[in-house]
């Protein structure tokens, strides 16, 4: 028989052996690491880790691994990490972790590169590399890192979303050297700060929030440090539950460390390490291959946030730009306003949010291996801003992270629109966060504090080929769940009057997914308060995509002492928002409100909002619009947004066609003339089609020049390297033109004047894109191709 060897053993990158402390060099290298040290400013990744000689890293890697052993080890590492998460879920005290899976676990290499993440909240794990690297640099010499240690940390500057998402992590030692790390994060119910449940709406800076704790040993050489545990418990209003949560994390770490050691014993350290490196390399290769299909260019997204503190009436700008050069993406937050209130995030969290979007959209088949994905990302943060705090920034209210997830999702989606195959992954955004915190005395006479999780049932954004999924959950947290109403009613003194589809959604050719609207009354308690956290209705933070309209922010309403208790006692039960609104005068609650009573005669309504739509609404299948009307869309909206005319509860095809033509004419008539029209007039088919860049925009070549042209009618809009918006008709309107109830009145809510601007083809009136901007801003340059 012919002698045959395993020709396809995978060579493993040897670079780690020649330069053991090297981590990926990135554009952040131009930032001064002495300043970006996790103490003065956020910690950034280093070109080379500066390690104490006491730190021994186990770097030996087999030069090749056969495909069978690799697949076996890939499964084993995945199961090991799942066991870690599963243990936390079962032991933990926090329903937030156990029901809603508001946690994550990961395995990192000896220098912190991410290998596997559990399929829970992705941006939790996306900071793990920085935290491990910080610990190697700052704890390696003093007090030292030893076998059996477990570190605790919740400092945003080192890398965490907010103080409640506490992290525990441990080195796995093999032959006296650090072989890898296992890492876990869990949202705990209260870790201190000015507000119960630690969402400190009123904090002006981090000193008004739970005190951040940089990495400290919670377990030292296998022994729990009572002093450290007590310090952490002292921070919390519910020390017993925090202790339980910490124990769940310790149990999870123990399981993962033991399993990792067993794997090494079974397969040998060099082989296991080779599998880890190959998992990362595979994800890098897949990401690179996909990026290489797309032309170079820069994509941008801008979102305005508001209501960052009680009474805040300003529109705060968040900007994200992404330059694609070959197979690298360079992200910047330039143009973002200064940090304000408690809705900011640190550099690490911003980077993690981007990494989460990248892995979902570029490495979905690599089990979201962020370690490989990050080899294609570089970062240029501007400190002191909402999404890159300086030392004093407060972060407990998270909004900057959810916005960063949405914005990075949007810029990547816009980029992927250039490729026919990858276009399938394009999805619009749901950015804002809405939640209610509860605290008081529960129906079992115990003090309690918790936060609602209904917001986990957000709708997905609209896809480029179908509607968003109602209550589909976020892409970066595929297993986040809201939990049953009964489970919440058992642990919280409330009743759910109803839980239904949210009141609106982003309109478009494909509509955004709906979230939830819930109504609560207090039950079995004399002391019960709620606090609200959302954003103004006029700044929803959920941009639509390619002509799809904005989603909704979500809202709060209440009615105090309204008489619902006696109503229910007499046999009535308002089972929807509409019924409630008919019975009681519901008051809009400002986006940041605290200490509102929720007793048996009070009503609290929360709509968590909905995601943005995709594509021009007048291109939506009229039969779908007919279904939408059945599910709550008004006849007027069907006619004016979608151009669909219903007669006798049927789609009137002729009138619909006429109505849609009329809408196009109306758009052209109401639009400002293009400031920079292209003189050459294109005719569909007379030129060479290159690729599409948006639902209704394409790049064509004519006479040696490249142009952006209308995909619908062929009209030339702008030179290919120009801003297409300057060749469009621009309609300046407000979000209230779409829905006066769900979008709120800018002038009542804000000092800043905002405009909702629609860019249409000056020839055919098709809608290319919308943007929410300060009224005096020039058009955003959201697509800037570099076709050289």
């Amino acid at each position: 028989m012919e002698e045959q060897t395993s020709a396809l053993s995978f060579p493993i990158e040897a670079s780690k052996e020649t330069a053991p402390h090297a981590v990926d060099s990135t554009a952040t290298s131009r930032l001064d690491p002495k300043l970006w040290d996790g103490f003065t400013l956020s910690y950034i990744q280093r070109e080379k880790l500066s390690l104490s000689p006491k730190v021994k890293l186990h770097i030996e890697t087999a030069s090749e691994i056969d495909p069978i052993t690799f697949e076996v080890l890939r499964n084993a590492l995945w199961i090991l990490n799942e066991e870690h998460a599963d243990t936390i879920r079962k032991v933990g005290a926090s329903p937030v972790a156990t029901f809603a899976n508001d946690l994550n676990t990961s395995v990192q290499t000896e220098t912190g590169e991410a290998v596997v993440f559990a399929p829970y909240v992705q941006y939790f794990a996306g900071v793990a590399d920085l935290v491990v690297q910080w610990t190697l640099e700052n704890r390696g010499g003093n007090p030292g890192i030893e076998d059996g240690d477990i570190f605790f940390q919740n400092d945003p500057l080192v890398g965490i979303s907010h103080q409640m998402d506490v992290q525990t992590f441990a080195p796995v030692f093999v032959d006296g050297a650090i072989f890898c790390w296992v890492f876990g994060s869990v949202h705990v119910r209260d870790i201190g700060g000015s507000e119960p449940s630690s969402f400190c709406v009123e904090a002006k800076d981090v000193y008004g929030e739970a005190t951040p704790v940089p990495p400290i040993k919670l377990v030292e050489r296998g022994r729990l440090r009572i002093d450290v545990e007590q310090m952490l418990r002292r921070h919390s209003r519910i020390p017993g539950l925090l202790a339980l949560d910490l124990r769940s994390q310790i149990a999870g770490i123990h399981a993962a460390v033991n399993r990792a050691k067993e794997l090494v014993a079974r397969y040998g350290a060099p082989t296991v390490k080779a599998a880890m490196r190959k998992i990362i390399n595979d994800a890098s290769t897949a990401t690179s291959r996909r990026l290489s299909r797309i032309p170079d260019g820069t994509w941008q997204d801008v979102v305005y946030l508001g209501g960052l503190t009680k009474g805040d009436r300003r529109a705060h700008r968040l900007a994200m730009s992404m330059a694609k050069i070959g197979d690298q993406l360079v992200f910047s937050n330039e143009g973002t306003d200064p940090q304000f209130g408690s809705c900011n995030c640190s550099y690490g969290a911003w980077r993690a949010a981007i990494a989460a979007s990248m892995s979902a959209l570029l490495a979905w088949d690599q089990r979201y291996c962020i370690g490989g994905v990050l080899k294609h990302a570089q970062f240029q943060p501007i400190p002191g801003t909402i999404n890159c705090i300086d030392r004093s920034g407060a972060v407990s209210n998270l909004l900057a992270i959810s916005s960063s997830v949405a914005m990075s999702g949007t810029v990547i989606a816009k980029m992927l629109s250039c490729d026919q195959e990858l276009q399938r992954n394009v999805i619009s955004a749901k950015g804002s966060s809405v939640w209610t915190s509860f605290y008081g005395i529960d129906q079992w006479r115990q003090p309690y504090a918790t936060v609602s999780l209904d917001e986990c049932a957000m709708g997905t954004g609209a896809f480029s080929f179908r509607d968003g999924i109602d209550q589909g959950g976020g892409s970066t947290a595929p297993r986040l769940e809201a939990g049953d109403c009964e489970v919440w009613e058992q642990s919280t003194p409330i009743l759910y009057l109803f839980r239904r589809d949210s009141l609106g959604y982003g309109h478009g050719k494909y509509r955004g997914g709906r979230g939830l609207v819930v109504g609560w009354v207090g039950r079995g308690t004399e002391v019960n308060n709620v606090s609200a956290a959302s954003v103004p209705l006029s700044l929803p933070g959920a941009n639509g995509l390619w002509g799809g309209h904005s989603g909704q922010a979500g809202l709060f309403m209440d009615a105090q002492g309204c008489g619902i208790a006696s109503l229910m006692a007499s046999g009535n039960l308002p089972g929807s928002y509409e019924e409630l609104a008919q019975l009681f005068k519901l008051r809009f609650v400002p986006p940041k409100s605290t200490g509102i009573h929720l007793l048996e005669d009070d009503v609290w309504v929360m709509d968590i909002g909905a995601s943005g739509g995709y594509g021009d609404p007048i291109k939506r299948d009229p039969e779908k619009v007919h279904e939408d009307v059945y599910a709550g869309l008004s006849i007027e909206q069907a006619r004016d947004i979608y151009g669909v005319v219903l007669t006798e509860n049927q789609v009137d095809a002729t009138k619909t066609q006429a109505r849609r033509r009329q809408l196009r004419r109306d758009r052209i008539a109401s639009a400002n003339k293009p400031p920079q029209p292209v003189s050459l007039q294109g005719v569909n088919g007379g030129e060479k089609f290159l690729f599409r860049i948006a639902e209704e925009l394409k790049v064509v070549e004519m006479g040696g020049e490249k142009y952006i042209a209308c995909n619908d009618c062929g009209h030339y809009i702008s030179p290919a390297d120009g801003n297409y918006k300057l060749g469009c008709g621009r309609i300046d309107g407000t979000l209230q033109d779409i829905d006066p109830f769900l979008f709120g009145n800018t002038e009542e809510e804000l000092e800043d004047r905002m405009a909702y601007r629609s860019y249409v083809c000056p020839a055919c009136g098709v809608l290319f894109e919308n943007e929410l901007a300060r009224a005096d801003e020039p058009p955003f340059w959201d697509v800037r191709l570099n076709l050289r």
């Binding site: 499964n75 005290a93 079992w444 239904r500």
Partner: protein
């Protein structure tokens, strides 16, 4: 009346196990499953068994004391969407709960690789459209207090509206009905009054557990398969009775044990997964009789691999299950399944340029390439044929000839893309599927605090005995048992009749410390009265009733609970202390030292009474094991590739039909049974014990 019979209708085969109580012997038979009319396969398998006993079916049935059936009829109706037209009544304000799915519906029931591809995911299609859900004015709170009284007049209109839409089953699921069933039961009476023939399913009866979504799904599924299962149960029972069976056919359930036809028809949901559960049940009853108290049960068929755990003679249970992408609250013996079987397809994953195996399966049609029925991708069975482990001329005892060339061609084609030889590829397919199965066993043992090394692996089903030597080795397990030799291939059929008649009685009782022993006593007394009434109505005398108590406890404010056994007696305060100590001990065992937090307090959630009516026991005979080990009958030799030694070697093949106690085998070798093949890997050995079990001594693999 000397026979006890179990019939397990599986996806591909219908297995029949006959226990002769006078000879204490077991006989098994296999017939093809007939999906369109499962009763056909059922009686065909009886026919084959009768033929082996040289009897006619009617005289076999006339001599049968008990006939138990485990069936996939209900599961199939759900999966193929061929159930009833169901209407649903819910509490006002919660009519969309079924669609909202707690926000988790998009990814539920998907594998990790499926759920991570956002654009490829969606919620499952609901079983009930929006216009068949009616919201009822009523409300109860978590303590069972009525907040809003039931508006019966409006409810009657709702029910009439549903009836006018042509429903033939009604599901009723109200909030907190498991704490206070009054409103649901009132609605049931109302519905039955208006439409006496309507199949009505109440959540407080089907799934009396917290969590309205999972309870609604369970109730709905129960209604969905209700009418169809009623017809199935009647037809099987009537036909068996007509053919001479003296008693009613009993039906196996997912909680273990079986029930009479009336109860199976009223709560048909509990027949879901009754086949795989019976395999675990059989191991739990027969394992300890043969000296195995801790058993990992592994059943590898054509499409799935089912794992269960028996710890100290008791099967693990769980309260949730995902069926057809819907999660529901349903107590059952814990069996988890993954897509790994003989038909699992091996393919090249272009993203990582590595080989993956399953979960996609070639199923029975077209089946593996070696079936020669048009399969175009290599499977695990093909790999075993290439390696020489499966004898192409003795598959299913020679009933099906296998095409070796086709298997080789498929495996070689895959190997070429990876740069691997034919044998390396075939062995790789097995190693990958074995590592996935080992991973699944880890999930069921280590994740729950059990060390697999403390267990014996029972290997049954067509593929279990073929692969157990490898996956058991991955887990550090020392002994694999192929239970009762060839009976292993019909093990689940055997398991249907060993658990007795089983009813579960549940009571939600929320107590905090100091825990009132009187409240627990009162609740259990009430449950026991119910249980005794039910069992005596079924003809069981006191002496044949066994009542087992368990109690669900947890640390206050913590989410996970544990069910622990309680003694059947009047509890006093010191018993409560013992109970809490037991809880803490088990908690520590499950989750590790320090994972519990006593200061938080302990609370009682729920009581459960398992009421067993004992059927005639299956007593196994332990034959004498000769002191001198005997040589088994050599059937022949063939070239088999063993990856541990990376080459083909001439390997002895033994006839599994002629096993006798004291036989001893050394690996590498192959033992061919009519319905399965047992390879003994290099370094492994095996012995036949006095019961006829083939015990494989696994031995750790020497690497590194």
């Amino acid at each position: 009346m000397k026979y006890i019979i179990g019939v397990d209708i599986g996806g591909t085969f219908t297995d029949c196990a006959v226990f002769d109580t006078s000879l204490r012997a077991i006989l098994t038979a296999k017939a093809e499953t007939t999906p369109d009319n499962p009763a056909e396969g059922f009686f065909n398998s009886l026919q084959k068994a009768a033929a082996d006993l040289v009897l006619a079916v009617d005289s076999l049935l006339a001599q049968t004391r008990i006939l138990v059936n485990a069936s996939t009829t209900g599961t199939n109706a759900i999966v193929t969407k061929r159930g009833a037209t169901v209407g649903l009544l819910t509490t006002a304000g919660h009519g969309q709960s079924l669609y909202i799915m707690n926000g988790g519906g998009r990814t539920k029931g998907l594998t990790v690789d499926e759920l991570l591809y956002m654009a490829g995911t969606d919620k499952p299609r609901p079983l009930v459209p929006r216009d068949r859900i009616e919201e009822i004015i009523e409300r109860v709170d978590c303590k069972g207090d009525v907040v809003v009284k039931l508006n019966e007049a409006r409810a009657e209109q709702s029910i009439r509206r549903l009836l006018s839409k042509g429903i033939d089953a009604l599901a009723i699921c109200l909030l907190w009905s498991f704490q206070r069933p009054d409103h649901e039961l009132a609605l049931k009476r109302l519905a039955t009054r208006i439409a006496p023939d309507l199949f009505v399913s109440c959540s407080c009866e089907v799934s009396p557990f917290m969590g309205e979504h999972g309870r609604t799904v369970a109730t709905l599924f129960n209604a969905y398969i209700g009418p169809l299962m009623g017809r199935y149960v009647d037809s099987v029972n009537e036909r068996a009775r007509a053919a001479g069976l003296a008693s009613d056919v009993m039906f196996a359930r997912c909680v273990g044990g079986c029930v009479p036809p009336g109860e199976a028809a009223a709560a048909p949901l509990y027949t879901v997964d009754s086949g795989p559960v019976s395999g675990v049940q059989g191991s739990a009853v027969l394992g300890p009789k043969m000296g195995f108290d801790n058993v990992i049960t592994t059943d590898m068929g054509g499409t799935t691999f089912d794992v269960g755990i028996v710890y100290r003679g008791t099967p693990l249970t769980r309260n949730e299950t995902v069926l057809d992408r819907f999660e529901m609250r349903l107590p059952m013996i814990d069996v988890i399944s993954i897509g790994a079987g003989g038909g699992s397809i091996a393919y090249l994953d272009p993203a990582s340029n590595t080989m993956k195996v399953g979960p996609r399966s070639a199923g029975a049609e077209p089946g593996p390439m070696c079936y020669g029925k048009g399969g175009e991708e290599p499977t695990v069975t093909d790999a075993n044929v290439v390696l020489g482990i499966i004898n192409p001329d003795y598959f299913l005892g020679g009933q099906r000839r296998l095409d070796v060339a086709a298997a080789q061609e498929g495996v070689a084609r895959l190997g070429k893309t990876l740069g691997l030889s034919l044998e390396e590829t075939a062995a790789g397919i097995c190693r990958i599927v074995d590592s996935r199965m080992a991973g699944e066993i880890r999930r069921l043992t280590l994740f729950r605090g059990y060390d697999p090394r403390d267990f014996v692996v029972f290997a049954f089903g067509g593929g279990g005995p073929t692969h157990a030597g490898m996956y058991a080795r991955e887990l550090g397990v020392k002994i694999v048992a192929v239970p009762l030799g060839n009976a292993a291939a019909a093990w689940s059929a055997l398991g249907t009749f060993v658990g007795g008649v089983v009813h579960l009685f549940e009571r939600n009782l929320y107590l905090r410390e100091p825990i009132d022993a009187g409240a627990i006593n009162a609740a259990f007394n009430a449950l026991e009265r119910q249980a005794q009434e039910r069992l005596s109505a079924e003809g069981f005398e006191r002496a044949r009733m066994r009542l087992e108590r368990t109690i669900a406890l947890k640390y206050c404010a913590q989410v996970s609970h544990l069910e622990i056994p309680l003694p059947s007696k009047l509890l006093c305060n010191s018993d409560i202390d013992t109970m809490i100590d037991d809880f803490q001990a088990i908690y520590t065992q499950r989750y590790g030292e320090g994972a519990g937090y006593r200061e938080a307090g302990v609370e009682v959630l729920r009581l459960r009474l398992k009421a067993v009516g004992e059927l005639p026991a299956v007593e196994l005979v332990e034959g004498p094991t000769p002191r001198l080990k005997t040589s088994p009958t050599l059937k022949g030799k063939r070239q088999v590739y063993w990856w541990e030694i990376a080459r083909r070697v001439e390997t002895p093949v033994f006839d599994g039909n002629l096993l006798s106690p004291g036989n001893r085998f050394e690996g590498p070798s192959i033992i061919e049974l009519p319905h399965t093949t047992v390879p003994l890997r290099p370094g492994q050995s095996a012995e036949v014990d006095g019961f006829g079990n083939l015990l494989i001594n696994v031995m750790a693999l020497e690497t590194h």
